[in-house]
Symmetry: C2
Subunit: 301 residues, 2 copies
């Protein structure tokens, strides 16, 4: 019997760095991608083709992507918020695009400055064009479980939007994100179980560890059948507006969970700790996660 | 429909303080018990009637117990390792005793200096005498999931010992402990589901957060039907031989998990944070847990 497998997609290069104030030199970004790659991770969110005025930290995404595409077997996703981002990504040689919108109206407006219907119409057109161009797609739904403005999201509202997104393309991977870290494990399990029952095993989980529930939610998603997980080396990705709050669930914490459950992730443990240390040392970052601070993990590795 | 309920048993006064080097003044211990009680917790592990030479920190258990028994509605457990501890506990007015032994031979020998069979025979006699004396009992099984000497414990070995313990008394609460923090959520869920199926809903989970899996394991135990959980305010209880390693899963983290799942615990959130802060400030302690460090938790409370 072969062990079950989980795919870890490291989002540190994008979600982890995005909110850092001081510009992280391109060479540092590429070194981070390289360190995560060397740890055995074969999927990453490399950057975002957003306006450099809105998110100056992502201004060098094309250059980081070029370096990442040269690493054999690495699946590189770049985020694309709109038509202009799509054009830039296509021109940069991107092969896999990440689209995104929110399940809740108020978060979509705050984050993307448009209604959900407007976002959905634009993204549906991009899905068509990207498929015609032979590009791979992932659709990220934010605030599936909890919204910073509207609180807990009713199951029905989440499932309605999942259904609309799924209908855009029967093969497209769809990630359900716990944007605020407020999802509860029973809710995570319930939503994924319903989604899998209705639309098959194509869902990924993007979790945050703001309230220490990140690993519990990953575990609940796994129990519900999810096999693709977003996480960030070093738990990078704190919100600059909530000091002390950690960001994405840490890749090393997720890898440890799977290791203990006998689930293969392809990770080299010592190298992953090295990548996590590198991520945590980036000036201006707000690292999180638990495993880096446990000496016996290093002794045992 | 009423909300489901979970019982939190705070073990900070015993498991949390036990390994602290400098003696914690009796008044501080009683203040900690009082703070946890004021937060709404109605079960605690107050102390241990062990030899003061072996564990000097627990030398004042009789005095702390006296103060705790005066708090209305508080269920006070004291640990009893052997016949002498049983006599001391009974003489101190204890009404609820915690017995303990390990599932693995090497840990039982290291911790209790005797074989499992020897421990089991002694404890079986104490169970009989305690029942005859009208005392309530809880039987704690250590190293159910993982042993520091033997690694992962085979399900069969754990279930065999659970069966023997359960047979001692059909009504006795039995706690299954993840002593090293190395249990995996799927293992926790599997063992508790099997135990519940065979012997009914009488099991408690005692988890550690050494590797950041504490909340995930509590969540898995809850999903398997467990309704009684041990935890320590402030995550107190680090092992002095593993610097940086945290100890018991933090009561505030567990309470937050249940709050988000809509499970009643009877906890007053602000007062629980105050108790956690108090626990974390005890000199010589190694506090853990996640929620104390998240500012937005305090703003929202």
């Amino acid at each position: 019997m072969t062990n079950p497998r989980a795919i870890i997609s490291d989002v540190a290069p994008r979600d982890g760095l995005q909110s850092i104030g001081p510009f992280v030199p391109t060479a540092t970004k590429i070194a981070l991608v390289r360190a995560i790659y060397d740890a055995g991770i074969r999927r990453m969110e490399i950057g975002s083709f957003v306006s450099p005025k809105a998110v100056p930290q992502m201004a060098d995404t094309a250059e980081v992507l070029r370096a990442a595409l040269a690493m054999p077997g690495l699946e590189c996703t770049v985020l694309v918020p709109n038509r202009r981002g799509f054009d830039l990504a296509a021109a940069s040689g991107a092969q896999r695009l990440g689209l995104f919108m929110s399940v809740t109206e108020s978060h979509n407006k705050a984050n993307l400055n448009r209604t959900r219907e407007e976002s959905f119409a634009d993204l549906a057109a991009i899905v068509r064009d990207a498929k015609a161009a032979g590009l791979e797609l992932r659709f990220n739904l934010s605030t599936v479980f909890h919204c910073p403005f509207e609180g807990v999201v009713p199951d029905g509202e989440a499932l309605d939007w999942i259904e609309r997104v799924v209908a855009l393309d029967p093969a497209m991977e769809v990630a359900l994100a716990d944007t605020t870290g407020n999802a509860a494990p029973d809710q995570v399990r319930r939503i994924f179980e319903r989604a899998h029952r209705s639309w098959g095993l194509r869902f990924a989980f993007h979790g945050h560890d703001t309230y220490g529930m990140g690993v519990a939610n990953v575990s609940a998603a796994w129990a519900a059948g999810v096999r693709i997980f977003d996480s960030a080396a070093g738990g990078l990705g704190g919100c600059p507006f909530a000091p002390g709050a950690t960001g994405n669930v840490a890749t090393e914490d997720v890898a440890w969970l799977f290791r203990r459950m006998g689930v293969e992730t392809g990770v080299d443990w010592n190298r992953l700790l090295a990548a996590a240390d590198l991520a945590a040392q980036i000036p201006g970052g707000t690292p999180g996660g638990r495993l880096r601070g446990v000496p016996s993990v290093r002794q045992a590795a």
